[in-house]
């Protein structure tokens, strides 16, 4: 993992001191709320429905055991014993007191963490594949690139007050596991015909009020040019993007309004100025970073693990877990193991302090001290020996963390919604819990197969509902909560926004409506087809017809 140097540490420490003084000045009245709000937002502090909320950055989802233990300590000492992992792979604490937040930031700084740029109109946490550094199919580890971007974008003076927030994702595989096209900029690590590694860039994707698909802006960019080119993109956005209307201020609107060709021409023109002004691009920093991400000291292991096979034969629960929660590793005898934070009936993405400590211990013992947070709100132990899976499973099971549902219908992505979030128009967590219980039967889940449900509590779409196979958006309708359902969304290579099935439903009607939708799929699917494949073949019409029966019944 990347280790902070003195400069990184100094930046974070100075920021803690600065924010501590800002809090003091707020409490003694020298700063008004209007003056203070943008300052607290620069440090991840929101005022939510019941309390303040602190969002802590987890750069590209990577945590060490020590860091995770520190998060557990904060949850226990300064919060209510739990934290919520988000689709930006950050963690949120829901109950901190303003006076204590500087102390929390100090504890974070002790383990090289912070809350800088987790909110506000700046470049947010860069995300990546949760299997980075482990995945069998990656061209290279994408984390050095993500870290390079993190360093460049942290406190970047020119891009500290953008028109709106700005999100970047990086991936290094054919299969897009980082929602590249749903980002302001998506960076794909690729190899060109000459065998050189570089970047393919997408721009102008995003969800929220106006969902858009990211567009290819550069097919191949030599590695050394990445930061210069990003600078050109951000500069064009910063100068040309709208600031008159918050809802039209994201880069996706700029790209959409002026068109990709015009946008690209502006970026290329700006880029030639960047190139002319700067010395030749330099890879020294990238190489320094890359060295710190050296692959762990993997052992030479046989492909199969007798031990695991025998344990599976004796324990059907373990067998089920192995079938769902393991991902193929680049190194023989290892796997990447997903820890589902979607227990049946639980709040998606929540983990208690005790669970965090248990995972930290497992990582230390079995996964080279590494944990990852996935945008699907799960945790990953990236480098686990197959031999060790039974032992890990036993610990997870004791902690209520062994739910074998990765990418199944109960692996629901869900934002905090109106149970916490001040912007929400409806609750999302209770509906996720209801659906999770509704589809709890493992055989039923297996029969349905891979299917994503994502629930957002407002149009901001933090839970990515537009790109869910079944997306649910909570709104207010005639003074009550109402849920719109879309289907057919896809976050990956066949990126697609879901289609609305019909009018919003009360929460109580949603499980049955989803049953109907799934019924259409189960009746019509061909051998081996997943839900989304059947949907692509059939189109939305038969699903709409099935949905209508429920909608009409509750109308």
């Amino acid at each position: 993992m990347y280790a902070y140097d003195e400069l990184d540490r100094q930046i974070v420490r100075e920021r803690v001191a600065q924010f501590a003084s800002q809090v003091e000045r707020r409490l003694d009245g020298s700063l008004t709320e209007e003056e203070f709000r943008p300052l607290r937002l620069k440090n991840g502090v929101y005022l939510q429905l019941h309390a303040y909320m602190l969002r802590v950055a987890i750069p590209y989802g990577g945590l060490s055991s020590r860091q995770l233990r520190q998060l557990a300590l904060i949850a226990e000492k300064y919060d209510r014993g739990y934290g919520h992992f988000t689709t930006r792979t950050n963690i949120q604490f829901n109950w901190p007191k303003l006076r204590e937040i500087p102390a929390i930031l100090g504890l974070l700084a002790d383990v090289d963490m912070h809350a800088i740029q987790t909110s506000g109109n700046c470049i947010r946490n860069t995300t990546t594949d949760c299997f980075a550094g482990a995945a069998f199919d990656e061209i290279e580890d994408p984390r050095p690139t993500a870290e390079w971007i993190r360093q460049w974008s942290t406190l970047h003076p020119e891009f500290d007050w953008l028109g709106r927030k700005f999100k970047i994702a990086v991936t290094a595989t054919q299969q897009d596991r980082a929602v590249l096209r749903g980002h302001d900029v998506g960076v794909r690590i690729v190899r060109n015909a000459a065998g050189e590694t570089g970047y393919r860039l997408y721009v102008g994707g995003g969800l929220g009020r106006t969902p858009m698909e990211g567009k290819l802006v550069r097919d191949f960019l030599p590695r050394a040019e990445l930061l210069g080119y990003l600078e050109a993109i951000l500069r064009v956005y910063n100068l040309e993007g709208r600031r008159d209307n918050k809802f039209k201020a994201r880069i996706k609107i700029l790209v959409h309004e002026i068109g990709l060709e015009a946008f690209r021409a502006q970026v290329e023109a700006e880029y030639s100025k960047v190139v002319a002004a700067a010395p030749a691009p330099d890879l020294r920093e990238f190489e320094r970073i890359t060295a710190s991400f050296d692959a762990p000291d993997f052992a030479d292991l046989p492909e199969v693990s007798r031990k695991l096979e025998q344990a599976q034969a004796a324990d059907p629960d373990l067998a089920q877990f192995v079938a769902r929660n393991l991902f193929r590793h680049k190194k023989k005898g290892y796997v990447a193991l997903t820890i589902s934070l979607k227990s049946i009936g639980g709040a998606p993405g929540d983990a208690t302090a005790e669970q965090m400590r248990a995972v930290a211990d497992l990582a230390e013992q079995f996964s080279f001290d590494q944990v990852r947070v996935s945008y699907k709100q799960n945790l990953v132990l990236p480098h686990v020996r197959r031999d060790d899976v039974p032992e890990i499973f036993a610990v997870l099971k004791a902690q209520g963390l062994a739910t074998p549902n990765v990418d199944l219908i109960t692996d629901i992505i869900c934002c905090p919604g109106l149970d916490y979030c001040a912007l929400a128009t409806a609750r999302s967590i209770p509906l996720a819990q209801t659906l999770s219980r509704h589809f709890a039967d493992p055989d039923k889940q297996k029969e349905i197969g891979e299917l994503s449900i994502k629930i957002s509590g407002c149009i901001n779409a933090c839970a990515h509902h537009h790109i869910a196979n079944i997306g649910i958006l909570g709104l207010e309708k005639s003074g009550g909560e109402s849920y719109q359902i879309t289907i057919g969304g896809d976050p990956g290579d066949q990126y697609a926004l879901g289609e609305l099935l019909g009018p919003g439903l009360p929460a109580s009607a949603v499980p049955e409506a989803i049953d109907r939708v799934i019924g259409v799929y189960l009746d019509a699917r061909r051998q081996g087809e997943t839900f989304i494949e059947t949907y692509r073949r059939l189109g939305v019409t038969p699903f709409k017809a099935a949905f209508k029966e429920i909608a009409d019944a509750v109308a």
């Binding site: 409490l27 019941h50 309390a51 303040y52 109106l418 003074g479």
Partner: protein, 106 residues
Amino acid sequence: MAVVKRPPFPVILVANDLVEGEVIFAAEHGWTRDVRAARVANDAEAAQALEQFGAAQARACKVVDAYLVDVEIEAGVPVPRHYRERLRTLGPSHRLDLGKQADFHL
């Protein structure tokens, strides 16, 4: 004085405590965390008094985001008409062990 748009009566005044962040309600004297002790305004004059109290307390750095919320009186207790505000008097609906609903057995 300009006409202020106010919710229908009766109303209570809701705010966040600046230091704690917690939701609080204007009471007969000062603030309360328990909605059952909230001061209820039934007319424009009483509502204006609540608003003035909120504004003064915001200036004094005691609270943030003070605003009036319309309620119904159920069994003598003010209950916000809107579900969002109702949740703010209780706590997260999936965690009955947390928030005011737990503290006050609401």
